[in-house]
Structure formats: structure tokens, C-alpha cells
């Protein structure tokens, strides 16, 4: 067998590695569990049904935005306009719902238009980045300015309230169970379904090695565009949640959330370079950010130190996420 050209490199085996490879979001899950335990330790009340419901309904928008970001990161791209899309859809549906009288039909129609708007924004990003080959970071920053301008045009100042039917549903209960849990359940079904699509496999293959994917005959440009469209759609869904949570329109609400969505993706063990990651990880990553904020609060950190401790904790888990993610990857 001397013809074997290279001596086979020793294979890194081990059960933990196998497990990580199969479930790359495990470190994120451990972190979430640990943070929950810490929360419970500092303030048992923070683990109450009510408190968790509150946490979920506050962070559901970030969860969805992080999932949105994940689909473009899969392909090795990034979307710095996700937060701006969220803002735009937020003000658009608020204004439409108000203009159409705030009835159930108006709400549903406005939501449909919100989805279309998200799709259109995603399409613009996809065309600009994949078809015109502009650098994703700067190009989506430029589109984010444009989308923000559009949001300001629709609603110059924050404030218009959402119709009662909308935020009461989001913040209320259905058959005794808080509505956000239905949202979460629907979301889990949705991302499970999504994970089986051909598109997700293609996005991951493109992110793995774009040139190889192209040479293999994958339609790389359409695939990347579809990734951005997915991102736009999920950003619109995130906008629905933020509208339900804040019950009002704010043309700048999403600006700060974009970088958090990127952080959540990394926390979830996905590689920013593409080709490796899970949506569930990003969901957990977004929860991690929420739980860190709540732990820092319940720990009794002096209020002026809270942001710093949060920032530091997020930096540390970000680094841990990158290191753990690297161990898991082949």
C-alpha cells in the first residue's frame, strides 16, 4: 500500500466531538441552561412561568432576527440591514393597520403586506450583493440606510399605537397558554421544515466553498439571493413580534438589533465564514443574550455596571462560541 500518497492524518475522534458535530448548538444549549440556573439562583421568581413568558415575548423579535441572519450567514454572507428591514416592516404594518381601521381583516392584510415588504427588501439585498457582487458588509449597510429612510418616510416619529386586537393577541393567552408559546411552537415547526429544504443545503454548500459549489454546478447567485430573501422574510416576522411587544411603531427600533443578531448567530456556534451552523443555535444565541441581560439584573449588579457586565459576558460567550464551534467542525 505504499502508493497511498500521503500518510493519513490522525483522526480526531471522541464522543464529545461526534456529539458536537451532530448538534453544533450544544454549547449554546449548555450556556442557556447555565444562565437559567444562574437566574434561578439569584432570583427564583425569574424562572416563574410569568417571567419566562415575559422574557420570551421580549426576545422573540431578536430570536427571529437572528434566525433571519443565520440564513445569509449559512452562505458566507452577512446582512447589516436586517434591523432596518425590521423597522421598516414595523412602521409599515402599524400605519397600514391604523389606516385600515384596525380590524382583524386589516391586521391580516397588513401582515401580508409586511411579509411582501420584507421579501422585497431581501430581494434588493440579494441582487446588490450576489448579482452585482458588492461587498456584503458595506452594501447591506448602504441598503440599511435606504430602508431606514423609507421607514422614516412612512412614520417620521415613533409613536403610532398598534390596534388593540394586535398587541392583545400577542401579549395575551389562547386556551390559557400565552400566545408567545404558540409563536415559539410555530417557529420550531417552521425552522424544522426549513432545515429540510434543498435551499438550506445549497446555502450551506455555497458557504462551505463558493468556488467549489459553482464548479459543481450549483446556481450560486440565485441561491445567495434566495438566502437574502429568506432573511428579509424572517426579519418581517421579527417585526411582527416587536410590534406585538411594543404595541407601537418606531422607525429606528431595529437599528441596534442588527449587531445583536450577528452576535446571536456566532453564539449559536455558526461560522461567520459560512457553511456550518444551525438555526436552533441562533435561537439559543438570542436567548443567551436575553438571559445574560436578565442574570446581570437579578444578580444585583449596580445599575451603572449592568451594561458593562453584559458586554463583557457577551464578549466572553462569543469567544467561547467561536472556539467551541471550531472544535466541532471537521
Amino acid at each position: 500500500m505504499a502508493e497511498t500518497a500521503t500518510i493519513p492524518r490522525p483522526r480526531r475522534e471522541g464522543r464529545i466531538r461526534k456529539l458536537l458535530e451532530r448538534y453544533p448548538f450544544l454549547p449554546a444549549l449548555v450556556i442557556v441552561a447555565a444562565l437559567l440556573a444562574l437566574n434561578g439562583f439569584f432570583s427564583p421568581a425569574s424562572l416563574s412561568y410569568r417571567a419566562l413568558t415575559g422574557l420570551l415575548s421580549t426576545y422573540m423579535a431578536l430570536i427571529l432576527l437572528s434566525i433571519a441572519q443565520t440564513y445569509v450567514v449559512y452562505a458566507g454572507d452577512i446582512d447589516l440591514s436586517a434591523g432596518a428591514i425590521l423597522s421598516l416592516v414595523n412602521v409599515a404594518i402599524i400605519v397600514l393597520m391604523e389606516r385600515w381601521g384596525g380590524g382583524a381583516g386589516a391586521v391580516l392584510l397588513a401582515l401580508a403586506i409586511g411579509l411582501l415588504l420584507g421579501l422585497a427588501c431581501g430581494l434588493v439585498n440579494g441582487l446588490v450583493v450576489a448579482a452585482l457582487r458588492l461587498q456584503a458588509i458595506v452594501a447591506t449597510f448602504a441598503t440599511s440606510i435606504f430602508f431606514t429612510g423609507l421607514a422614516l418616510y412612512i412614520l417620521p416619529v415613533a409613536g403610532t399605537p398598534a390596534p388593540a386586537i394586535f398587541w392583545r393577541t400577542y401579549g395575551g393567552r389562547l386556551f390559557g397558554v400565552p400566545f408567545v408559546f404558540y409563536v415559539l411552537a410555530a417557529l420550531i415547526v417552521l425552522i424544522t421544515v426549513m432545515s429540510r429544504t434543498r435551499l438550506v443545503t445549497q446555502l450551506l454548500a455555497v458557504g462551505d466553498d463558493q468556488q467549489a459549489a459553482y464548479q459543481s454546478g450549483l446556481p450560486v447567485i440565485p441561491v445567495r439571493i434566495k438566502g437574502y430573501v429568506l432573511c428579509g422574510l424572517f426579519s418581517a416576522l421579527a417585526a411582527f413580534c416587536i410590534t406585538g411587544d411594543t404595541a407601537s411603531g418606531d422607525p429606528l427600533v431595529g437599528g441596534k438589533m442588527t449587531l445583536y443578531s450577528v452576535a446571536a448567530v456566532v453564539l449559536g456556534g455558526s461560522a461567520l465564514s459560512g457553511g456550518w451552523g444551525t438555526v436552533v443555535g441562533s435561537l439559543l444565541g438570542a436567548l443567551t443574550i436575553g438571559l445574560i441581560n436578565s442574570v446581570v439584573f437579578f444578580m444585583g449588579t449596580p445599575s451603572e455596571w449592568q451594561n458593562f457586565v453584559q458586554g463583557l459576558a457577551i464578549l466572553v460567550v462569543l469567544m467561547a462560541g467561536v472556539l467551541a464551534g471550531r472544535r466541532a467542525r471537521p
Binding site: 505504499a2 502508493e3 500518497a5 500518510i7 483522526r11 467549489a212 464548479q215 454546478g217
Partner: protein, 501 residues
């Protein structure tokens, strides 16, 4: 009947002409071998057929109909499947996903049809049953596989295209004998079913075993197409290297041995590391020690490790009398060791930067300079470049404006401003033209005459035979034979490279 025909296809990358005039005709039901030395344009030709490279000129005919191939997808649609030499696999995807990557089976329009995916993968994995090796399974991640197993996945991926015309660009370089045998059975079967197959390999025995006809490419030009049954290895090699290459060692001016009275320049004792084990040798001052053997038998890994860029697990290295275990290339350079890689794109060229910046880094390091004064350095740089007849417009032109051979001369020149004691050459002539090679070897001999200890690994036997005083033949990471004096013949080298096979 003619499955594929290429007429006068050419391709240039900037100043580098990768393919000057490619002509090729492949019939249905034949295995058509492409031969040519490294960098002769075979891979470029294949990529043009597969749509991955846009040709500058020329015609492509499939089934005698002129076609336009707009990209890899269009090539697939027109019945072309390809095995890429550098592989086109997604490392984080499973074997089964990779096999069907270009055309993932779908159900309900959007979902991956896992059942169909598994069935299809099973079909191609079955072809290599019992030879694929441990750990190979449909759901293994490609990144976790051994190099030979990855190569099998790329083969399966090409086969899964079920294309009437299949291109295999060096598909066997990492495979073992059993895997190659199985692969050839499959190729024979495909041939009998009327497929046209383009096959590239550097191993003469394989070519004899599977090929029907051979087209020889030299310096980007199609030289000839021969019937393999009516020709012999010597003819093919002569055509490949253009007549001059088959020079026997006895005619070369390389002395049989160097007396070594000036002492050893480089001593390696029992060195082991990733890719090589228990290697010992000595290079005398003024000696050119050749490394031979098939590609990837540990020669490069060893040279890199000596230079401080690879792993060493045991053994010692001495330069002159003193212990030299370089912890990094920086360390190695400071202590008078030089390394030139044939993979200049990866290891050598600082692309997009001026020639002056490509030629000075070693000088800066060895003299611990802080300020770059290009005009003052000109006096030092120019003789180094001119000693190899490097052609350049000015020192401030980007290195990418030069041809491959001249780029390599610039990379070598960076080591000549301040003489090193030891020069490690890792297949330095890969992909450069003949005149550049000649300039290079003239220089290397001069350097040896000046007392440098030189190690030369070359994938081309003629270079070793013509220049090395001694040749160590590598096989499976160890030295299996030493050829000195009159033993240095093409036959011995060839035999030693293959002997354990």
C-alpha cells in the same frame, strides 16, 4: 463517432498564457488520456470543457455540433461531468449530499428527498465497496475523511452526473492500488457503454492500463495524439518534454559525488513529523542532494519542517556544526536557511505588490531594517534578479504582470541578496517554462559551486538526474533508496519510486 471536439482553444490569465492552442478529440467509448508536465495547460483545458473557465478563443463541438458553454451548469446540461483535481467538495456536508450536490433530488418542490438521496448515494458507494476504507459512510462528513476517501467522493460525484462525457483530472493521485483497480473496472464498464472519458494521470502504468489514445500537451499547446497501443513510454515522454528531457544522467554535468571535505552544510538525524518518519541524511557544502519519488511521499513535508513551517516530533537538524531546530520560518531565515516552494501562488508570491516588495523581505529580516529605501536597494536587488535573466519592466511593476517563470525567479532572487548556507528547493520548477528552468538550474549549480548545501526535490526525474549529486528516493514518508554515481538513471529512479507498490 466524435463525442467532443476542441479546436484552437486558448486562455490567458493576465500576462500568463495558460493555454496557447488546445486541440482535442474524444470519441464515444474511449478513454482518452491527456499528458503533459505540470503547468502545461491540461487542467485549464479540462476546466474550459467543464465551463469553470471562460476560454479566450476556440471552438467546442459536442456530437459534432458547435456549442457554447456558459458555465458549469450549462456544461452539465450538455452532458459533461468532471472530477476536479483540487476537488469540489463541501467539507461540512455529508458524503451523500456531496455526491448529489449539483442536482439534489427534491420532493414537494422544495424539500430534499432524503430517500432518493440515500438511494442514489448508495448506488455509487456500492461501486467502491470494500475498498473505500474505514469510516467511509454515506452520512460521514467529507471533512472528516482521509484524502483518498475524499478523492473517492469526488469520483462518485463525477459518476453521479451520469454524463456521456466524463473528465477525470488526476483522480488517482491519493488512491491505493485496490481503489485504483476498482476505479478502472468502473471506467472500463462505462467505456463499454459508450461514454467518452478524458483521463489525466502522471503514472505511466495507469495510462497503459486504461487508456486508448493519448493527447500530449506541452507549454499550452497540443503536440500530438497517439494510439497508446502503438506507442511506448519513451516516445510519450519525449513528446512531453520536447526532446531535451530524456537526457541520461551520465551526459549531465552533475558530478557523481561531492567529496565533502568542506564539511556538512545540513545534517538531519532521525527526523519524524507529520508526513515523514525517521529520515536521516547529510548535505555537504557544495552538494546538491536530490529528493525523488512519487509526488507527496513526504518530501515537501520534510523540507517545510526543516524550514520551521511543519511539525517535528522527533530527531534533530544541524546547520554546519550547530543544532538547528527552527521554530518558525523567521527563525530559520535568520540562521541562514532558505526555502523555495513550487507552489508560488501559496507560499511565495505576494500578489498585487511590486516586484521590489517581493524581492526584499528576506533582506529586511536578516538586516533588521526598519526603513525601506527602494532606490537604495536597487543596487542589491538588480544583480540578484539579473543572475537569472529575470525579465521585468521595472522594480515597481506588480509581480502579477510577470509570467510564471519570471515570478519564480523573483521569489528565488529574494534569497540571493544575502547568501544563505542551506537552500531547500521544494519542486521549484512547477509550472514554469523550459528556458526559465534552464536559467534556474544554471544558478543552482553556481550556488553549489560557491559552497551552499542544496536540497532539491523535483517531481520531474530529468531535473534530478541532471542536477543532483545524489538522490534519495522517498516512499511513504521514508527514504527507501539512495542513488549515487552511475546508479542515477531514469530506470533506477522510476523503479525505486514504484518498488514497494
Amino acid at each position: 463517432m466524435s463525442k467532443l471536439k476542441l479546436n484552437g482553444v486558448s486562455k490567458a490569465y493576465g500576462a500568463t498564457l495558460a493555454l496557447r492552442r488546445g486541440d482535442l478529440e474524444v470519441m464515444s467509448g474511449e478513454v482518452h488520456v491527456l499528458m503533459g508536465s505540470n503547468g502545461s495547460g491540461k487542467s485549464t483545458l479540462c476546466k474550459i470543457i467543464a465551463g469553470a473557465v471562460r476560454p479566450d478563443a476556440g471552438k467546442i463541438l459536442i456530437d459534432d455540433t458547435p456549442v457554447t458553454i456558459t458555465g458549469p451548469r450549462s456544461a452539465r446540461a450538455q452532458g459533461i461531468g468532471i472530477f476536479y483535481q483540487e476537488l469540489s467538495l463541501a467539507a461540512h456536508r455529508t458524503v451523500e449530499e456531496n455526491i448529489s450536490l449539483a442536482a439534489l433530488p427534491v420532493k414537494s418542490g422544495v424539500f430534499v428527498d432524503r430517500t432518493a438521496l440515500k438511494e442514489r448515494a448508495a448506488r455509487y458507494i456500492l461501486l467502491f465497496e470494500n475498498v473505500a476504507g474505514e469510516g467511509f459512510s454515506a452520512d460521514a462528513l467529507v471533512g472528516n475523511l482521509r484524502p483518498d476517501q475524499r478523492q473517492l467522493v469526488e469520483i462518485m460525484k463525477a459518476l453521479a452526473s451520469e454524463a456521456p462525457l466524463l473528465i477525470f483530472d488526476e483522480p488517482t493521485s491519493a488512491l491505493d492500488r485496490a481503489q485504483v483497480d476498482r476505479f478502472f473496472e468502473i471506467l472500463r464498464d462505462l467505456k463499454s457503454r459508450g461514454r467518452g472519458i478524458i483521463f489525466i494521470s502522471h503514472r505511466m502504468d495507469e495510462i497503459k492500463a486504461i487508456g486508448d489514445r493519448v493527447t500530449i500537451i506541452r507549454d499550452g499547446e497540443t503536440i500530438a495524439t497517439l494510439n497508446l497501443a502503438e506507442t511506448d513510454a519513451a516516445t510519450v515522454i519525449r513528446l512531453m518534454v520536447g526532446g531535451a528531457g530524456d537526457m541520461p544522467a551520465s551526459q549531465s554535468s552533475a558530478p557523481a559525488a561531492v567529496d565533502g571535505k568542506d564539511g556538512a552544510a545540513l545534517t538531519v538525524r532521525g527526523l519524524s513529523g507529520r508526513g515523514f518518519r525517521n529520515v536521516s541524511f547529510e548535505v555537504a557544502r557544495g552538494e546538491i542532494l536530490g529528493f525523488g519519488g512519487l509526488h507527496g511521499q513526504g518530501q515537501s513535508a520534510l523540507l517545510r519542517a526543516i524550514f520551521g513551517a511543519g511539525s517535528i516530533t522527533a530527531g534533530e537538524v544541524l546547520i554546519g556544526e550547530s543544532r538547528f531546530d527552527a521554530s518558525s520560518p523567521r527563525d530559520a531565515i535568520r540562521r541562514g536557511c532558505a526555502y523555495v516552494s513550487g507552489d508560488r501562488g501559496r507560499d511565495g508570491v505576494i500578489s498585487g505588490r511590486p516586484i521590489i516588495e517581493n524581492v526584499t523581505p528576506i533582506h529586511y529580516l536578516r538586516h533588521r531594517l526598519m526603513i525601506a529605501r527602494p532606490r537604495k536597494l536597487r543596487d542589491k536587488v538588480t544583480p540578484a534578479l539579473e543572475s537569472m535573466h529575470t525579465k521585468f519592466a521595472s522594480l515597481f511593476h506588480p509581480i502579477s504582470s510577470l509570467s510564471g517563470g519570471n515570478q519564480q525567479k523573483v521569489i528565488i532572487a529574494r534569497w540571493l541578496i544575502d547568501r544563505p548556507d542551506v537552500l531547500l528547493l521544494d519542486d521549484p520548477t512547477k509550472g514554469i517554462d523550459l528556458s526559465a528552468k534552464a536559467d534556474l538550474f544554471t544558478l543552482i549549480r553556481q550556488l553549489a559551486a560557491q559552497g551552499l548545501g542544496i536540497v532539491l526535490y523535483s517531481s520531474e526525474d530529468a531535473e534530478l538526474l541532471g542536477n543532483a549529486n545524489r538522490i534519495l528516493v522517498f516512499n511513504g514518508g521514508s527514504v527507501t533508496r539512495e542513488l549515487t554515481g552511475a546508479d542515477r538513471t531514469r530506470y533506477n529512479l522510476y523503479q525505486a519510486a514504484y518498488e514497494a507498490a
